[in-house]
């Protein structure tokens, strides 16, 4: 089976601090993987490296066989991403923002317009489509972030804490969208919400201090450690801060 994401010996130093240490990971076409780990484990760094927002200190990564470091634009065209807590231009409306991003991704005309309507409806921002984003709450921006990630219907979703800032209803809705999207897309997400991970992903990669501790299916991990995923997480990250 084809590999959608390949991470090969990826390391990243921030001014001498090793944030990611020789990480290697392969995600196949039909897999949905969660990146778990304590704060500062290197989760966001991994996702940023995959999206070409950081340069690796060593190693490389591939998206559908395209080298992210050497052909960033081509690799990223196959990805929809939410990274950190994204902000939007406050002077634009969601429609204008999605129109801008859609055009940059090669969409245009009626196709773009109807897709914008579709994703806005999907994230339940219909009533806010023509309102400037400057007036939006954190949760509404997170919904819009998901809309822009899905806009060009990419085969791969890279999501960094996708439920961050959402209220309980928003979290449930986000989870339902991801459960639907995972049927056709590869989802690679980082999250602290174990319940979200269990429902959306079938595999987890647990990292700590930049090291990969374990990478396996949730089912196998539960069997191996005879614990819930939460229990496995706590056991493997014992003593980590």
């Amino acid at each position: 089976m084809r590999e959608s994401i390949v991470i090969e010996g990826l390391s990243k130093y921030y001014n001498g601090f090793l944030a990611l240490d020789n990480l290697s990971l392969k995600i196949k076409e039909n897999e949905d993987v969660a990146l778990l780990g304590p704060n500062g484990a290197g989760k966001t760094t991994t996702l940023k490296l995959l999206c070409g927002l950081l340069r690796p200190s060593s190693g490389t990564a591939y998206i559908n066989g395209v080298n992210v470091v050497e052909e960033r634009e081509r690799a990223i065209s196959m990805v929809g991403a939410i990274l950190e807590t994204p902000e939007f231009y406050p002077f634009f409306t969601p429609e204008e923002t999605l129109s801008y991003l859609g055009r940059l991704r090669g969409m245009s005309g009626q196709g773009l317009k109807s897709r914008i309507d579709e994703v806005i409806k999907l994230v339940r921002l219909e009533g806010w489509a023509k309102v400037r984003i400057g007036k939006f709450s954190r949760g509404m921006k997170q919904r819009l972030a998901l809309a822009q990630a899905l806009l060009h219907d990419p085969p791969i979703l890279i999501l960094d804490e996708p439920a961050l800032g959402l209220d309980p209803r928003g979290m449930i809705e986000m989870r339902e969208i991801l459960k639907k999207e995972r049927k056709e897309k590869v989802v690679f997400l980082s999250s602290h919400l174990i319940t979200e991970v269990v429902q959306v992903c079938d595999k987890v990669a647990l990292i700590d201090h930049g090291h990969l501790l374990v990478y396996d299916s949730i089912l196998r991990l539960k069997r191996k450690y005879r614990k819930s995923l939460e229990g496995v997480y706590l056991k493997l990250t014992e003593g980590a801060i």
């Binding site: 999206c51 927002l53 950081l54 950190e84 902000e87 940059l104 090669g106 822009q148």
Partner: protein, 269 residues
């Protein structure tokens, strides 16, 4: 899709962003107020009457006085438009949405620059149109040198943009980039220029000196009028417009290329 197509898209939305901001309209209002104030001072204080006899009131003197003074506003506008152009993507985290797109950083920087140049040029042109209206109203004449001065003012504003883009790519915050640009142009360059003058070195290659061609293009013989002894602070400054044009172009090209290089290397930490 070609990078040129993407450049057109980036420029279009960057322009929309600029036109949605209050600072563009604020700059227009300030420019108009500055032109009105300068005209009022010129006439109210009878500036031509206070100058040596060789210099009489003329459309050229009026245009020189008004455009060279009011050109300061567009310079500030250029700094404020460009100061946050790159830095804000990192500072306000909008880069997390913009950068993970199949578009080169260089395309983004050039698109942002074209948008900044357009709005700055609009304000410079607005200042000159206001001056032209006043000229025609007061003197019923329009000296051809006004157009030369306008062209040089646009090149000068462009060079300010280049410097502002450099700092915006280099520094973490928009405010820091804006202040650094202003300090560089108004303090550092001025100190170097004055030092060169004291050392009897012709400062033709300095940014501010080249910018004075905006006024010298009118050909008012200040030095001859004062017989070589200019009043304090008004030393002879008559840079060659053609040389100054290329000097100002250099002050745009070098920082702007550096800005693209820095923006391409900058990481979204």
């Amino acid at each position: 899709m070609s990078e040129f197509e993407k450049l057109k898209i980036v420029t279009k939305y960057e322009l929309l962003k600029q036109f949605r901001r209050k600072r563009f309209y604020g700059a227009l209002v300030l420019t108009l107020l500055a032109v009105i104030l300068i005209i009022a001072l010129y006439k109210g204080l009878d500036i031509p009457g206070k100058l040596p006899a060789l210099i009489t009131d003329s459309p050229e003197l009026f245009a020189l006085f008004v455009t060279s003074a009011s050109a300061t506003i567009p310079i500030f506008a250029a700094v404020f438009f460009a100061g946050d152009s790159i830095a804000s993507e990192f500072e306000h985290k909008t880069g997390y949405i913009l950068f993970p797109n199949p578009v080169k950083r260089s395309t983004l920087v050039v698109g942002k620059y074209i948008a900044c140049l357009t709005v700055t040029a609009l304000i410079v042109i607005f200042a000159y149109v206001a001056t032209v209206i006043a000229l025609v109203g007061i003197y019923q004449q329009l000296p051809i040198e006004v157009f030369g001065s306008l062209a040089l003012a646009l090149v000068y504003a462009n060079s300010v943009l280049g410097i502002a883009f450099l700092y915006s790519s280099l520094l973490k915050g928009s405010m820091g980039a804006t202040i650094a640009t202003l300090l560089t142009i108004m303090l550092v360059f001025s100190v170097i220029e004055v030092s060169l003058i004291f050392a009897n070195i012709d400062p033709w290659f300095m940014h501010g000196y080249a910018g004075d061609s905006i006024a010298s293009v009118y050909g008012i013989p200040f030095a001859a009028a004062w017989g070589g002894g200019m009043p304090a602070g008004m030393e002879e400054r008559s840079p060659d417009p053609a040389t100054s044009f290329f000097v100002m172009l250099g002050y745009f090209i070098v920082p702007f290329i550096l800005s693209i290089w820095l923006a391409k290397r900058r990481e979204m930490l």
